[in-house]
């Protein structure tokens, strides 16, 4: 059995670039959605806000500065090939990449060491949250994103049970979005995880926010649920920046997983319009 050797430094440099790039350059899927929303937005204030967000994202890319001051907590989804051999410590290599990006890229360091008592800033935005999945092959695929907490704070998990059915799922998602209201920097991207266990559905919801918003769930039942929920959310009236309008969300992305006979957990991870993520393969 042969292994492919990958230098730890290559991992570090890849991670560094991903975090700088995702904070400077908004994805073309988001930019396209913002531009079409500007055409369909009915409120004048809403149109003006969308224009300012588009201008903001263009300035950030042109000047290579973060498009939002909350450059987020660093989150990575890693698909790690089982034929890969790293000449060092993979975890440390990733953390070093995050450290370099946030230092050299003029990104804000927003992580505190202890959540309750000390709350002292770690000053390098580590530790990052790393979700690793072992897959077949000799490559490493990394999807990285900076997750802002204005929207993270508006997210929720609920352990629904089977009798709630699809109506219960819809209601929980819409209730969570309605409670968030103007706070999570609309127009938002709604990531939904359904199934698995308590922690798996939350992880799926995060993964859903990292999916391009010009895609649908491959199962057409969930794809139409995505469309239906998006239409419902856009009737809520929050609009861009919460100042009123019919563009409250850009997309609803749903990811699912098999679950227990007694359960139907649902997680809703809300992301602001600065839905930042980039991928690379080593």
């Amino acid at each position: 059995m042969s292994f492919r050797k990958i230098k730890a430094e290559t991992v570090t440099e890849t991670v560094r670039k991903l975090f700088m790039d995702c904070n400077y350059y908004i994805g073309d899927d988001i930019m396209n959605a913002l531009k079409s929303a500007r055409e369909t937005e009915q409120s004048e204030v809403g149109k003006s806000v969308l224009s300012q967000i588009i201008e903001n994202d263009e300035i950030a890319a042109a000047e290579e500065i973060p498009l939002c001051q909350d450059t987020g907590m660093a989150v990575l989804f890693v698909e790690y090939g089982d034929k890969v051999c790293i000449d060092g410590d993979f975890e440390q290599a990733v953390q070093e990449g995050v450290r370099r990006a946030y230092d050299e890229g003029y990104l804000r360091k927003s992580v505190v060491d202890d959540p309750v008592f000390d709350r002292v800033n770690t000053k390098d935005n580590t530790p990052a949250i790393i979700h690793t999945k072992i897959v077949k092959g000799d490559k490493i695929k990394i999807t990285a994103g900076g997750k802002g907490f204005g929207s993270e704070n508006m997210s929720a998990v609920k352990m629904l049970t089977p009798s709630y059915g699809v109506e219960g799922v819809k209601q929980f998602i819409l209730d969570t979005v309605r409670a968030a209201g103007p706070n999570p920097c609309p127009p938002i991207v709604v990531g939904v995880g359904i199934g698995g266990t308590f922690e798996r559905c939350a992880q799926l919801a995060k993964k859903a926010t990292f999916r391009r918003i010009d895609t649908h769930n491959p199962d057409e039942r969930y794809a139409s649920l995505e469309d239906e929920l998006l239409a419902e959310i856009n009737k809520m009236g929050f609009g861009p920046a919460g100042l009123g309008g019919n563009t409250s969300a850009l997309a609803v992305n749903i990811e699912t997983s098999p679950t227990h006979i007694a359960g139907m957990p649902v997680a809703v991870n809300i992301c602001c319009h600065a839905a930042r993520h980039k991928s690379a393969e080593i």
């Binding site: 950030a60 500065i65 001051q69 804000r108 360091k109 706070n183 999570p184 920097c185 920046a241 100042l243």
Partner: protein
Amino acid sequence: MKRITLPLTDEQISTLKAGDSVLLTGTMITGRDAAHKRLFELCEKGEELPVDIKGETIYYVGPAPAKPGYAVGPAGPTSSYRMDKYAPTLLDLGLKGMVGKGARNSEVIDAIVRNHAVYFAAIGGAAALIAKSIKKTEPICYEDLGTESVRRYYVEDFPCVVAIDAEGNNVYSY
């Protein structure tokens, strides 16, 4: 679009109505979660604050670091509701304006009306654009808090919307 100079006067505040788009020019101070907690604790102990907030406008912001050649890094508003616990106390001490994003609770709205103050909303996530209107910054206190330290900003044509006016009218009622 109304042009407003800071510090705010009572007469100016009376002309502002929820929903008005305004451009702010003048000086404001900054402060968010950690600085508010410290200021609030001093107020509770009846001690003097390290910054005179009477007549001031406070911007809820924690900017990204400035690249060389920039006066400030990207500096958009943070969610205001996290300051709701502290805001009424600061308003009762003479704070006149707040700049942030998102809804406020009824205690804050009552304190705005009681003190003839105003709450402005800036566009969340428009940090690179907003930073263009911040011309100069200088430290005031709590420098150990880094991005959360209290600073003085000199702004020109800083874009925002009157979200809650002195009569308690609220743009976030749908």
